[in-house]
């Protein structure tokens, strides 16, 4: 059973359909939620938290209906909103304790966990300062601390690295990575930054115009997309191609000495240089890249990255290439 099950979910807000028939099952340990502005990411998060009532269809979190059982779901979820959201007049530790008590922890335990959470995110030294004196990075961290303090089973992070400088961003990503490794918490991370999602997530849900544009396991996607290489050669190109094919590469030759090939797992780029040296072929240029999350995202958005090799089903395939 997945953590989040979407079953024809439709949400209308202000007479406008924001989420349109989402169906799918999210079961990754860390799920990335991607999409352009207005795609419905925040609406989906709000629906998961029971803030919005689905117009049609259902959404289940841990097998519970997101609207009917919202109190129970909220007890198991830690939520870090995108925008500033705190009580500035309270000290850091008091704010986190308050949130932990609201989540259901007894007062003594809430205080203990508040201290721990603040130390964990790196705000231990400033935990007695009022929250409105915190820097932007600290405010992001205290939102994370309050989301963690009650030991949730699912952590929903809405743009966790928003407005952070590179150091603070790195720290936030590291923290999220540590939480993921610990294993008791599942993560749902909404972000505009593909790099953030790429670093910590193993599954991605891409929304476009309120619909699911892609739902895939990033690792599986990467495994299925082997290494693509584009070469520009001078010399006996056909003979070189034949030799490369003999190594087990899928290979296509084009006029002007251009060769596109797919490397199997056991062949490395170095092997190509060795063959070229043996056959007196000059390799003038080599482009090598793996299918990145950016490619997955752009494909989902309907824009193929230009000037770069694409997935096998989109690569131009001359007749002699046996795939």
């Amino acid at each position: 059973m997945g953590i989040i099950e979407l079953n024809g979910l439709e949400v209308q807000l202000g007479g406008r359909t924001v989420l349109d028939g989402l169906t799918g099952e999210l079961q990754g340990r860390a799920i990335g939620l991607l999409g352009p502005n207005g795609a419905g990411k925040s609406t989906l998060i709000n629906t998961l938290l029971g803030f919005h009532l689905p117009t049609r269809g259902t959404v289940r979190v841990f097998g519970l209906d997101a609207h009917r059982d919202r109190a129970e779901i909220r007890g198991r979820v830690g939520y870090m909103p995108e925008n500033d959201s705190f009580i500035g007049n309270m000290s850091g530790v008091r704010f986190v304790r308050y949130m932990a008590e609201l989540a259901g922890l007894p007062p003594g335990m809430a205080l203990e966990r508040a201290h721990e959470a603040l130390f964990y995110v790196g705000l231990g030294e400033v935990r007695y300062r009022k929250v409105n004196t915190y820097s932007l990075g600290m405010k992001q961290l205290i939102k994370l601390a309050q989301a963690l303090a009650h030991g949730p089973r699912l952590l929903i992070l809405d743009e966790p690295t928003n407005g952070l400088d590179p150091m603070a961003r790195q720290r936030m990503i590291q923290l999220i990575g540590e939480i993921r490794k610990e294993g008791s918490v599942r993560l749902l991370i909404s972000s505009h930054l593909l790099r953030d999602i790429d670093e910590v997530c193993d599954e991605v849900l891409i929304l476009k115009g309120g619909r699911i544009a892609a739902l895939c396991n990033i690792e599986a996607e990467r495994r299925s997309n082997r290494s693509f290489i584009e070469l520009e050669t001078v010399g006996a190109t056909e003979r070189f191609s034949t030799s490369v094919r003999a190594l087990g590469c899928e290979c296509a030759s084009f006029p002007g000495g251009r060769i596109k090939l797919v490397l199997p797992e056991h062949v490395e780029a170095r092997d190509l240089y060795i063959i070229a040296a043996e056959q007196g072929v000059q390799i003038r240029r080599m482009n090598q890249r793996r299918d990145s999350l950016e490619d997955i995202f752009l494909r989902a958005m309907g824009n193929t990255p230009t000037g770069l090799p694409t997935a096998p089903n989109e690569i131009e395939r001359p007749a002699h290439v046996g795939l």
Binding site: G75, G88, G104, R113, L148
Partner: protein, 290 residues
């Protein structure tokens, strides 16, 4: 997750029941309200009249004092009118306290957009408002029915035995009058505070909400030569209600006596509007139409 290890630890302990979350909101609200020195100052100010009334009760029941002042002095008679004055003074002091406390209860949450985080926890919007209501209602109780009840008990203890039994209606009347007033005040003040982010402005808006309609009501009554304009006059309505609850003579009646039912309907309508305002404002997310 521990301080010295700096690693994450899941929580597996017991969880409090859902209704306790309302108590958490109320407790933190109460704490927030009373963390201000101005709140303490207003509270002390509100306790000064009961101290004076306590002295009056003592003098009224002390034969030596009565002999010195004059046994028939109207100032030394503890009756329905005496308790009506006590109730009125304490009630208007409660308005002052509410106008300071309510914006503190709502303002800090609204100023820093805390509602999305607060409501993402297992507490409903109703529970959140109820928690704030309890905090404000409790604070106002400390300056209204609690000291008034103490005065009544003191008078009952100090006077000859039949007085307590003969005047028990006063106790219920005062309790009902004070509870109606502080419940109305709590809902109204929370509603106004939820719409005004700046606390000082919210304090002014609360006074305006009570007294500006009174002026409008007076104009309506004068122009249309009707008593119904007084239904907009909260002080006038409440004075009439308190008089009837305590069975005191109606010294405001000459302006136009309002039916008790009309007063109650008007108060209920004001509360409904306030609840509507709270319902509109206390949301985790605002939906923009169109």
């Amino acid at each position: 997750m521990s301080v010295y290890r700096l690693n994450y630890r899941a929580y597996t302990g017991k969880v409090t029941p859902l209704w306790m979350r309302i108590a958490v909101i109320a407790r933190y609200g109460f704490n927030e309200a009373w963390s201000s020195k101005i709140t303490i100052g207003l509270f002390i100010l509100s306790l000064l009249p009961p101290i004076i009334f306590l002295v009056i009760i003592y003098l009224a029941n002390n034969p030596m004092a009565r002999a010195l002042i004059g046994a028939g002095s109207p100032d030394l008679v503890v009756n329905a009118r005496f308790f009506l004055v006590v109730l009125q003074i304490q009630s208007w002091l409660a308005l002052v306290l509410a106008s300071w406390v309510a914006p503190r209860l709502m303002g800090f949450d609204l100023a820093d957009n805390a509602l999305p985080i607060l409501l993402s926890h297992p507490i409903s919007r109703f529970g959140y408002v109820l928690g704030k209501f309890i905090a404000l209602f409790g604070s106002l109780s400390l300056v209204t029915w609690v000291p008034i009840s103490i005065l009544f008990v003191d008078q009952g203890y100090s006077s000859p035995v039949p007085w307590f039994g003969n005047n028990i209606r006063l106790a219920f009347g005062m309790l009902a009058g004070a509870l109606i007033w502080i419940a109305f005040l709590s809902v109204l003040c929370l509603a106004i505070s939820s719409w005004v982010k700046w606390r000082v402005v919210a304090t002014g808006a609360i006074f305006a909400a009570v007294f500006v309609p009174s002026g409008v009501g007076a104009i309506v009554s004068a122009v249309l030569r009707t008593k119904w304009g007084f239904l907009l006059n909260v002080p006038y309505m409440m004075s009439q209600l308190w008089q009837r609850l305590l069975g005191a003579p109606e010294f405001l009646g000459r302006l136009g006596s309002l039916p008790t039912l009309a007063i109650l309907i008007m108060l209920a309508a004001a509360c409904l509007v306030s609840v509507g305002m709270l319902n509109k404002r206390v949301r985790a997310r605002e939906v923009v139409r169109g």
